[in-house]
């Protein structure tokens, strides 16, 4: 009896596996093709339809936790040279205390990737620029190191490289005398990956940072900002930053 059942099952099983395999072989390339069709080819320009942004839930961001800061430093090759005042910090944890109520918050602050970035407005050569998808970057080839962007940024998000650097991450070239700041890990975003800070935060289980397309109504970030109250740092300046904060 059991032998018969086994025989029947194995025959059925064989057929099921064969069908599944056949289906997989036939469908997978199509699915992959859809994926490839949806992703941006390297030679294609970025789309204005996308606005990359970050949502940071400060209720989930623990004081003293610097997983995002460490991940950023590793990813972008930012090293401690023993000169904290001249070392770059593309992302930093700002500890806040309300002067009246005593409430505290711990907030990661980086380039806010403004829609109207003052650094781009003041840059004399156009080295500071905003990509169509909202990411604000520095073209290291034409940055003259005037530091006007550092003067203009209300978020203190720009640094300058104060001395020659070696052992750089090939994805993130940096140059002595050039201004720089958070790139939103553009090299990862262009490979359909998350920025390093977001990935580290998620991996550690904090889930305080969400990255996504603010213009896509189906994205998690767009749905969250539509549902819950979020704020922008120095919203009074009307720069419309791409980084928003929840719980402030």
């Amino acid at each position: 009896m059991s032998a018969d059942t086994n025989e029947v099952l194995s025959r059925r099983g064989f057929l099921a596996i064969s069908a599944a395999t056949l289906g997989g072989v036939m469908l997978a390339p199509g699915v992959r093709l859809i994926e490839i069709a949806a992703a941006r080819a390297p030679e294609q320009p970025v789309s204005r339809k996308v606005r990359w942004g970050l949502l940071i839930d400060t209720n989930k961001c623990a004081p003293g936790c610097d997983d995002c800061v460490k991940a950023c430093a590793t990813e972008n090759g930012l090293k401690n040279t023993g000169h904290p005042r001249t070392d770059a910090q593309w992302i930093r944890k700002v500890e806040l205390k309300d002067m009246r109520t005593g409430r505290t918050n711990s907030v990661p602050v980086m380039c806010q990737h403004c829609e109207e970035p003052p650094c781009v407005d003041v840059c004399p050569t156009g080295a500071s620029f905003k990509r169509a998808d909202g990411i604000v970057l520095v073209d290291r080839h034409i940055c003259i190191g005037c530091r006007y962007c550092m003067m203009a940024c209300p978020y203190k998000a720009r640094s300058i490289v104060f001395q020659s650097i070696s052992d750089q991450n090939p994805d993130v070239p940096r140059g002595n005398g050039c201004a720089e700041g958070c790139t939103l890990c553009v090299h990862r975003v262009d490979r359909d990956q998350q920025p390093a800070c977001v990935e580290a935060c998620t991996k550690a289980g904090h889930n305080a940072m969400i990255f996504g397309d603010l213009n896509d109504p189906h994205s998690e970030i767009a749905q969250r900002v539509a549902k819950y109250a979020s704020t922008q740092i120095r919203a009074d300046l009307q720069l419309n930053p791409g980084v928003r904060y929840q719980g402030l």
């Binding site: 156009g126 003259i144 003067m151 203190k156």
Partner: protein, 397 residues
Amino acid sequence: MADSLIYRELGGPSRRFWSLLALLAVPLALGAVAYFYMEHYGHIVTGMDNQIVWGMPHVFAVFLVVAATGALNIAMAASVFGKPVYRPVAPLSALVSLALLVGGLALLMLDLGRSDRMIVAITQLNPASLFARRVIFYDGYMVSVGVYLWFLLERRMNRYIRPAAIVAFLWQLLLITSTGLEFGFNFRAAYDSVLYAPMFIAFAAAYGTAVLVLILFAVCSWEERPVAEALLRRFKNLLGIAVGASLFFAVLFLSSKYELARSRDVARFLLFDGGVYTALLWLGQLVIGCIVPLALLVRSQFSRSALAAACALVVLGGLAQMYVTLIGGQAYPQILFPGMVETSSFFDGEIHPYTPSLVEVLLGLGGMALAAAIIAVALRALALLPTRLEVPAEPQA
């Protein structure tokens, strides 16, 4: 009567002149060494950091640029506003203006993080940037003042002096207004006020006139060139008005910062709690730079030494003002979260310390020496000043 003015190059024995140039070559050479040292090692060798991003070279550079625009006022008074008494010094006024501007611009260029890319700064302009537009303003200003100076010196072109002067005047207005607005349009708490535009116009008039008068006195001490007391009295009055206006705008600016709740903290920092910045503001900018010179200038009895002292004090006060404006404005922390106490590993919420390094000071002094050397060489090569500044000139065409 204007024809009776005989313009002559700077005289004196060659050896004496070469000694002067050798003397100026010392700060110039030290400035060059400082530049190459900074260029080689990077800005790590300066006192600047990611909080104080513009340091001592900018203090000297902005002072020179502001004084440059103001130094042209005398020439503009002669050629645009029809004050013939200033005609004898109009060429010197234009020369000093150009020389100071070259000194200031050289400093701005040499202090770039990538000074090797100067050509990019000139060829690749972002039209939206006020800073880039200023490159055009600098060029326009230099060309128009150069043309104006040429028309002053070339007898055949004398009849076009007034139109050339009007063009130069418009560029002057653009340049000094945009210099002030560079601060005024900045979000930082110490800036963020359009009062910077008229305030810098007043500062420019004071610093530029003071530098011009000092150079005139230097020429007079170099060789016998009698200067009419009437002219010096005019300078005295003009400087008095400019210093008075500077004081007025400084007080208006500081009190408006203090009165407005959103900027009261930064005003309190500058006025009372800022340490070196408070000391430089009160003692340097206001007392040495404004009140003492005003006291010297408003005396009814005229004295050349009092005028010279007033000019020197105005220059010192001007450097103090630039230090307070530039460094003090950056030392005060940028407030990201109003109403909150901020702390971070990136020094948020802190008063940022800054100690100028020797290389920065040497570079700055080198820029000043460059301006002085240009003036000395030009005065020696070109007949820019009359032998006697006593003859009242007739109005220009």
